[in-house]
Symmetry: D2
Subunit: 337 residues, 4 copies
């Protein structure tokens, strides 16, 4: 922590803050420059992270030096985390493609899509049973029945299932019926939910919030890991910007940035990011080229009648074509599909 | 709903979509222009809000015409909603000032601040018992004990109490101990929590999400009201933008915009928006001048030692001075304090 | 300047950078903490502002301590700058209201509006002769003839004239015909234009760019002042955010922030910020309450037929009503209108 | 154009606007729905683009249907534009890599870098002679001498030269000495400069503004083409968002979006977008995978001493490695390098 004083700060101001820092058990080093006095705090200054040092008299600015997270960091663990879900390893050389409908609708549709995405090479099945919808008048998902349909699809295809939890009271059900629990973008800072899923070792796919910084994203992952659950995957799914031509702005710079700062696998969801099916293929390819460990792609056999996000869903034959193209990109960056 | 076709759309494309609309029970009107064909959907087209019409062949764009909300709208209720909390009316001529510490810490500090803000003219007491913190290592609030301290402060001062709920499993406790339940910015789209507080008639202070549009904000309010709870107040608390000089960018244009679109009271929180105590006073005054119905202001007797957000807290004497200035502004816009 | 090294940095890394700093003539102070080594640069480290220190081996982060501007800062000049334009003083106790049409259209319309805004109490006349339009097919302004119409309006009403320059080749014409030269938001970082207007002492109204930070805004003002022209006024006119309900998001926090950092007058333009005439009055009042030194307001006698931005223009009678309301707010914050 | 009336609109309101539309020579079609009346304007309604229809009494919203641009659109020209610069074709099957230092510094350094990037496979040389710097105290470029150094580098290597123009008064010099004139992000809406370069047939590389939408970007290109210059290339270089971990957020969704809407070549600049050299390679690969026609990459032989943007510059050996990786990606998407 670096504390810079205003040119008008008095010696009393500097002593007053120094005393407080010593009270907190910290060592300090004072530099008196020509224009400003600076205090450097030595040692683990994380306890200062949320101390309101900037309100002390004479203080101009306070700058943190250490990253506020620990367990998610590359410094803490240098090798990549590989999350094992049944016999699928996420975060290794092979890229994990998770595909399926936005929302689970009917049993036969769900099972049908599962068979099709499997045939095309997908390794996991996605599907929403509980849907967080902007409007209370939109389809809210089938709930428990939706999870049952996914479980049935898994039984028939062997594909492990990813589904989104909305309510901490549903944890037991998800532990039983899903293979990966998804925390959606709108709940990235629903800390009670993070604590809840942190209490088990069930794999968690944590989506980045619409306006979450890289730092906040990693701190939300830290919530889960600090409760004991190390099986966390990060998912970039577009951030909110001024641009309205697509639903959100997919931030692919986050891939190398997250891989540098953290050891966790990074998945990319081009479907939700763009909200337009015809942008999914180029961005899926770009994500692999930039180093993503996996993709989350919406596939629907009849997008025109999908109850949720049909605009961004690929038809199965387009998904199949995409998988062929992705394989080439994977090869070009020394990965497998 | 207005559907515009591409110049390359065929008659089949137009018929195919027209058939689908008729299937859904909607009347249509087709305009064939020189460059484009347009279908206008007549009647209540809200059922189309989440139909993926843009994936139909030949469609260029789909534009919604009706606002997607109903119960929160001025069209639905022309007069202002006034939320009654004990003997305090929020949304009427008198401006409601809600003040207190960010987080509840010790009983005597909480009660002390309550007495001071009351003496300065505040009408309600705020205080966080459960704190949504970006880092798992930050102070997470006293929990149930914090609510008890607030209840004690209310007993001694008579000030009704506003506190934030984080977990739907805590509803009973909040119904018993708080007078207004706050839904924080990070939970504005925690729809399970919205549904939960919508099931009672306890007043709810709904904060705008960091990246929530006016439209999404009103739809979250609609979630609560559509479940039966009409006692909803909207709170603008700053949005996330590229500017880093303040924590968030307070969006005061939202005040007249929300008052035009909706009948609900609008409260402004300049403390969280700016994160800097010395910006609170000018923005509090601006909020009243722009038509806000109330203010949420952080006050702490010893900001240097506050466990949360000390940077933005006013000392009691500064809050007292501010109340005197606010009274003048209120008078200038024909309101009372 | 504070340079933080990675935990993996070697002594060689630290020596290598220390040498470079000494080469540049700077004194350094090295702190060796438990997790990180830190170098503090003492003295005027502005010469480091654009040195790529972060590419040196082992460097984790580089943080600037001194503000990068000098002449615009409160530190440099503690008293408020008051810009004198004929007999109007901008930046003093009296609030300067600048009103008029977005674009100059016809002579009689321009002169008519000038008379009306003067009657309502405006102190200066605004009007665009050269219009920066997003589309090449939109009305681009009358050009030189527009400046002549404004000059005629000044002759008849005595109101000094504000008009926007787009091209450095037009400087002479603006020096002759305008009383304040406006640099528009899109040209805030057109540095050649800033240098050009910096070479004279003609007052300049510098608008904040759509995505300009407070820091960049002040540095653009510094461009002008560093060339010799001290008569600079800052104008907040809304920034670009994700919100689409209004054209831009008016950032009123910028008023107290700019007044704290700088001695220059701060003007607010609620018309361009919102793009909606019915939001202009509440935000104009809010701006005064927050401490603005002036307002820029669009007024048009027939908004329905305005060639530019009719949506946001007030009719003269509404402007007159607004002036009465503004006077009350001004009084409440101890200013005059 | 679709005009929607409020439920409270009167017949007079509807007649009044209809009359205005007829005055402007437009045909209208009126739909009277259950909740709203709608007017559809038939024919080329671009003349309405900047008519303030929303201020007419009773109007709720106005929605444009036609894209506001013409000459840049795929509708206008279905085949891809290929810009020819000497013997380099940009926009065809071969991907154009433009590399070089941010700013031109010394002759021998410039020529040296030119030789190195050529040896690695770059097809064009970039280098700034006039630098738009945020601070007036930063290195502003060598000016005319810098252009001479670039010309010399071209003479020695044969690489055509891209350099940025800042001032319309420098056009003649750029026509003579540069092979592609770059319009930088800060000048994307410097319309006088756009008009100026539109008057010749010299190729123009137009960078997207920091907060420019896809729509505004294309309209700026339309400015140039509508003046007669068809040799325009679009360059995505990152937009400004809330994320501060990188300098800007590279918007790779813009690649397929621009290619769909327009026939112009799309270049990507990962160096300026991220501001960090170690993010350049993954994002360069992603850009090619997403369909970019070219890349703009900063290369400097001694980034530690670069006078501008050393943080984001690749050393020549890293650039060479990147070219080898890019070739694989190009092959995977059926392109050549």
């Amino acid at each position: 922590m670096i504390i810079v004083f205003k040119p008008t700060a008095t010696e009393d101001d500097i002593d007053h803050l120094s005393d407080r820092l010593r009270e907190l058990g910290l060592k300090t080093q004072i530099s008196t420059g020509e224009e400003r006095t600076i205090i450097g705090v030595i040692g683990d200054d994380r306890i200062l992270e949320h101390q309101p040092l900037s309100v002390f008299p004479g203080v101009e600015s306070v700058t943190s030096i250490l990253a506020p997270w620990k367990l998610v960091s590359r410094e803490f663990q240098q090798h990549n985390t590989v999350v094992q879900v049944d016999d699928v390893a996420i975060g290794g050389k092979r890229i994990a493609v998770i595909a399926g409908p936005c929302a689970v609708e009917k049993l036969e549709v769900t099972v049908g899509i599962a068979h099709e995405v499997k045939a095309a090479g997908a390794m996991l099945l996605r599907g929403g049973a509980y849907k967080p919808r902007t409007s209370p008048y939109s389809f809210q998902g089938l709930g428990r029945e939706g999870l049952d349909f996914l479980a049935e699809a898994k039984k028939q295809t062997g594909l492990p299932v990813v589904s989104e939890i909305l309510d901490p009271r549903d944890t037991d059900m998800f532990l039983e019926k899903a293979n990966i629990i998804q925390i959606g973008a709108r709940n990235m800072q629903n800390f009670e939910l993070l604590k809840e899923v942190g209490a088990y070792d069930k794999p968690v796919l944590l989506k980045r919030g619409l306006s979450a910084t890289i730092k906040e994203f990693l701190l939300s992952a830290e919530y889960i890991i600090s409760r004991g659950n190390k099986n966390v995957m990060l998912c970039e799914r577009g951030i909110r910007t001024f641009e309205t031509h697509y639903r959100n702005t997919l931030d692919l710079s986050a891939i190398p940035a997250l891989k540098e700062l953290s050891h966790l696998p990074v998945i990319v969801d081009p479907s939700h990011a763009t909200g337009k099916w015809n942008l999914v293929a180029p961005l899926a390819k770009a994500a692999i080229a930039a180093g993503a460990d996996g993709l989350l792609i919406e596939v629907h056999s009849n997008p025109e009648c999908a109850l949720c996000d049909g605009e961004e869903s690929l038809k199965p034959h387009r998904f199949k074509d995409l998988m062929i193209e992705l394989e080439k990109i994977a090869g070009a960056v020394d990965r497998e599909l």
